[in-house]
Amino acid sequence: MAGTAQIVTPGIAALEQPKIKIENLRKTYEVRSGEVIALNDANLDIMPNEFISVVGPSGCGKTTLLNIIAGLEQATSGRVEVDGKLVTGPGKDRGVVFQQYALFPWKTVIKNIEFGLKLRGYSKAERREKAEQYLEYVNLKDFAHAYPKELSGGMKQRVAIARAYAVQPEVLLMDEPFGALDAQTRAQLQEDLLKTWQTEKKTCFFITHDVEEAVILAQRVVIMSARPGRIKEIIDVDIPYPRDQTTKMDPKFIEIKNEIWAKVYKEYLEVQK
């Protein structure tokens, strides 16, 4: 903890050990035409209870990075540590919310939420109680026994969030979770997410293609560069919480948003070349 010099955001105690430590991470895929570099020498420290957003043009390796942190994919080289322990596979300390909801279509809403609890050995009564609690939290109590196909996109994503929360992971990894939703639903879920993050104190890693979303949520925004999958820049969002929709009118917010937007757009143009 002491010995290693770290670049830390102002405001976060310098002695604290990072929750997630990403070191020289590289990931390549073998494809027919040769080798695709998805991630190239990514380095990032995420502090406990920090909210990090990741933006960048599509194909720049955001999902790959999340999958490696989640333990769903193996890095080609480099390492990821959570609480100082090397990540070798998925773990109870990390929950994931996927863009495509990934609800089990043959399970009702409540059974979906109970699934992770069941795997952790909770009794039937315990997991029902807990699942109901989280269902209420995402305002879907009336839909406990509905199947996913009966829900709208926003409702499905709320179930997916409840399912991830129910097992109480310390780290929440989210891959464009609100990407497919309409503006109102998205704004609502952003506010809900911020509230949870503040009350339950989780470490959040949130991928989005929407710069405004990245800024309203995060303490730091990671900009990834087009190719070959590098972390280009990390920008502090020095705006106090609680934030809500009115924060989007704040001149400081607009300034940061525009700055990041310009940088992401430059990366986007890079890809087009």
């Binding site: 989640a70 333990g71 769903l72 596979g89 998925p90 109870k92 990390r94 929950g95 994931v96 996927f98 495509q100 990934a102 609800l103 089990f104 279509p105 043959w106 399970k107 699934f115 992770g116 795997l119 952790r120 199947y147 996913p148 196909k149 399912r163 097992v167």
Partner: protein, 255 residues
């Protein structure tokens, strides 16, 4: 809109009634009528055979063979398909054989089965077993292969082990395909059965038709064909009903 929906509903019964009327008209043409007996005679034959009991003997003999062969086929197809879907190496061993045998119409195997097993019950069941197994194993295997990888990822991050993923994700996700397999398997069992019975049997609907044709009892032949069609249709509808009841959770409904 409502009116057009009602008229759409009427089309099917109308089509059936027209079909029967055309059948009746055709049977009145002397040269055709010798082969295609009129519907009224057929109905009478149906009742006579049912009353005499021979119809039930033939139906139950056929049903037993179909269900026996089919059940055996299903019981073997499910584990084989799952093992093929789960283990790459086993798939590489089994798949070429299944792909090859599935291109052979099961009826072509009948002479081989007769030579090895005679024309007894086990020969019929063996042919149906092979026919249904091949159809069902392919369909169920497709189901195992088509499991959405995101669902497997979602289960993994929630703490699922390989065993959990198999029983809690792969099996339920493949369930619709199992039912599709059952439907295809039953249809294939039924068609294969009739062919198998025609090559020699002492009971069964196929045999009934064969024997009737020797005595030129065309009413009996057509009645038999009709019964085979009705039973086949009923089995298909039964599985469809099950499919709707058991896999109603699916996003996309197959028509």
């Amino acid at each position: 809109m409502n009116a057009s929906r009602i008229s759409t509903r009427l089309i099917t019964p109308l089509s059936v009634i027209c079909g029967i009327l055309i059948w009746y008209a055709l049977s009145k043409i002397p040269s055709v009528g010798a082969i295609i007996t009129d519907p009224i005679r057929i109905t009478k034959t149906l009742f006579a055979e049912a009353k005499a009991g021979s119809l039930w003997t033939n139906i139950s003999a056929s049903m037993l063979r179909v269900l026996g062969g089919f059940a055996l086929g299903l019981v073997v197809a499910i584990p084989v398909a799952f093992v093929m879907g789960w283990y790459k190496n086993i798939r590489a061993v089994i798949e070429p054989w299944i792909q090859f045998f599935r291109t052979i119409p099961p009826i072509a195997l009948i002479p081989l089965v007769i030579v090895s097993q005679g024309i007894g019950e086990s020969a019929k069941i063996a042919v149906i077993f092979i026919a249904t197994f091949l159809v069902m194993v392919i369909s169920i295997f497709q189901g195992v292969r088509n499991v959405d990888p995101t669902l497997i990822k979602a289960a993994r991050v929630l703490g699922a082990t390989d065993r959990h993923i198999f029983f809690e994700v792969v099996v339920p996700a493949s369930f619709p395909y199992i039912l599709v397999g059952v439907r295809l398997g039953l249809a294939s069992a039924w068609t294969t059965l009739v062919a198998a019975e025609m090559t020699g049997a002492n009971k069964g609907l196929g045999n009934m038709i064969m024997e009737a044709s020797l005595y030129f009892r065309m009413d009996l032949v057509i009645m038999g064909i009709f019964v085979i069609g009705v039973i086949g249709l009923a089995m298909d509808k039964g599985v469809l009903y099950l499919e709707r009841r058991l896999t109603g959770w699916q996003e996309l409904r197959k028509s």
